[in-house]
Amino acid sequence: MGKRIKWLLAPALILVLALAVAGCGSGKNAGGQTGGSTASEAVTVVGSTALQPLVEQAATEYMNTNPRAQIEVQGGGSGTGLSQVAQGAATIGDSDIFAEELSGLDAASLVDHRVCVVGMAAVVNPKVKVDNLTGQQLVDIFTGKITNWQQVGGPNMKIVVIHRPKGSGTRATFDKFALGGAEETAPGMEQDSSGTVRKMVAETPGAISYLALSYVDNSIRAVKINGVQPTVENIVSGKYPVWAYEHMYTRGKPTGAAAAFLNYMVGPQVQNSLVPKMGYIPVTQMKVERDAQGKVTRK
């Protein structure tokens, strides 16, 4: 038995070392060739977990029709995506926010591709029978000035605010366009994952938070802001202001396989079927445009 173990372990060690060496060899050109393959250019897409499902689905469909394509989609968050693409460690960086909005990043070298629009709604626990909140009321709730639902026409229930993490694109968008730039200073809880936020709002009496429209379902109630319902039509026409682009950034203009995939992402197959199916809004459908500074213009 001793001999057998010895003979098993030696090749095992060698195998591990060999793999490591092979990995080191091909790892050096991370963006170019994945896994040492010499077939075609590999495209690595890193970043926003909000955009990840859409890109993964699109990549799967793209690779089904283009067998030589290699698209590798990962999460990691908008910050990770942007820093990796800026460093050249990833081909495409997904982000929920404009690259210019993130400090510590040189956005000049990055080229923006907007692939869809995601709308955001303020959501409350179903027990809170409040239908509409004015912009000022929202600000007061999220800065802690209003603490009971009674003060805004609801039942006598303490308001439980659930924030999103400070670095998240969802929070940045909501703070900028629903709260008019006010900071969320109300004492409350913080939760990153949209699924968990939905569950928390659905089950905690008096809870309020904000979610991308694609996560809103029957377990929670989306409220109108200034009388405007958070629907696709209202976002498209510009009446409902709480929305943001989903960006896919490349370092410089994209070429080759990356360009082909990005073309596919903004092309009709993705924009007209996949994007709406997942609860996002195609960029082409938007009647208004917004730039990195937040200025809105009619298209």
Binding site: A12, V16, G36, E56, Q57, V73, G195
Partner: protein, 294 residues
């Protein structure tokens, strides 16, 4: 109250404590299996996950979990065993050996998220690999190494000294003694250690979030070339394991049947851990009876 009554009450307390722990375990297992078992069928275990439609499965994630287990064991077992041999056989009592033990204790109390961050720094960024199976396997090896070393050393030390002395008396070198006499005899203990480590690998998520990633490329199960990027065997691809998948779909997923997939995955995970445990006991007993048939 006299001592007899106190004794009886104490016995009651002990039984209650044991039963409480069993109750907790039963409740946890019951909850997981109740919610998850009905999601488990062959299709669930083999099909790839869906991103936005219902009906996804966890096939690639299960494969990734096992493959990651294999890779990390390939690294952990040799290194851990050899280090255990060193500590048990060759190390002299002194500050150097003390230092090794301190390092082992340090490694064993590291939070797994710190190991994950370290893995991110070294195995993902510094090496340029990105999120890969290998990065995950190396991080898991770091987590399991102290356990393996400790188990190996203890198993070796627990072998009867007469065997060692007899072997040496026959003229074997210390290394030969180790390999041909002591390790085989210590095998059941080593196996138990390996299986406990495997259980930890299976359930680990925090360290893998930052090293093996939260996605899996489409796997072509008929492509067994380890260097092809679609091959399941390629260790340089991102590999979402089952535990990470549960975390991911509970966080950001848009699929309408999130509960079915999450509960089913949890049930599969727990069942695998159960099977591992049973296997460990059965195999350990079997090996022990065969090895020490004397």
């Amino acid at each position: 109250m006299n001592q007899r009554t106190a004794d009886r009450l104490a016995t009651l307390m002990f039984w209650c404590g044991a039963l409480l722990v069993l109750l907790i375990l039963g409740a946890l297992l019951g909850y997981i299996l109740y919610h998850g078992l009905r999601a488990i069928n062959w299709r669930f275990i083999t099909s790839p996950p869906q991103n936005m439609a219902a009906g996804g499965g966890i096939g690639p994630q299960i494969f990734n979990s096992f493959y990651l287990l294999l890779l990390s064991m390939l690294i952990t077992v040799p290194v851990g065993l050899l280090a255990g041999i060193y500590l048990a056989e060759y190390a002299a009592r002194g500050p150097a050996t003390d230092f090794i033990r301190l390092c082992i204790e340090t490694l064993s109390s590291l939070p797994s998220i710190v190991v994950g961050l370290f893995g991110l720094l070294i195995f993902v960024n510094m090496t340029g690999w990105g999120y890969t199976l290998l990065s995950g396997a190396l991080s898991l090896a770091v987590i399991n190494l102290p356990l393996m070393v400790r188990v190996s050393e203890e198993a070796i030390r627990s072998v009867a000294p007469e065997m060692r002395e007899a072997s040496l008396a026959l003229g074997a070198t210390r290394w030969q003694t180790m390999w041909r006499v002591i390790i085989p005899s210590a095998f059941p203990g080593l196996l138990t250690g390996m299986i406990i480590a495997s259980g930890r690998v299976f359930g680990e998520a925090a360290a893998l979030l930052y090293t093996a990633g939260m996605s899996s490329p489409p796997l072509h199960f008929n492509d067994w070339n380890p260097f092809s990027p679609f091959s399941p065997l390629n260790p340089l691809r991102p590999a979402e394991t089952l535990a990470v998948h549960i975390w991911k779909i509970n966080s950001e997923s848009l699929i309408p049947d999130v509960r079915r997939v999450a509960d089913g995955s949890a049930a599969v995970l727990v069942l695998v851990v159960l099977v591992f445990n049973l296997l460990a006991r059965w195999l350990g007993g079997l090996m022990h009876r065969r090895m020490t048939a004397a």
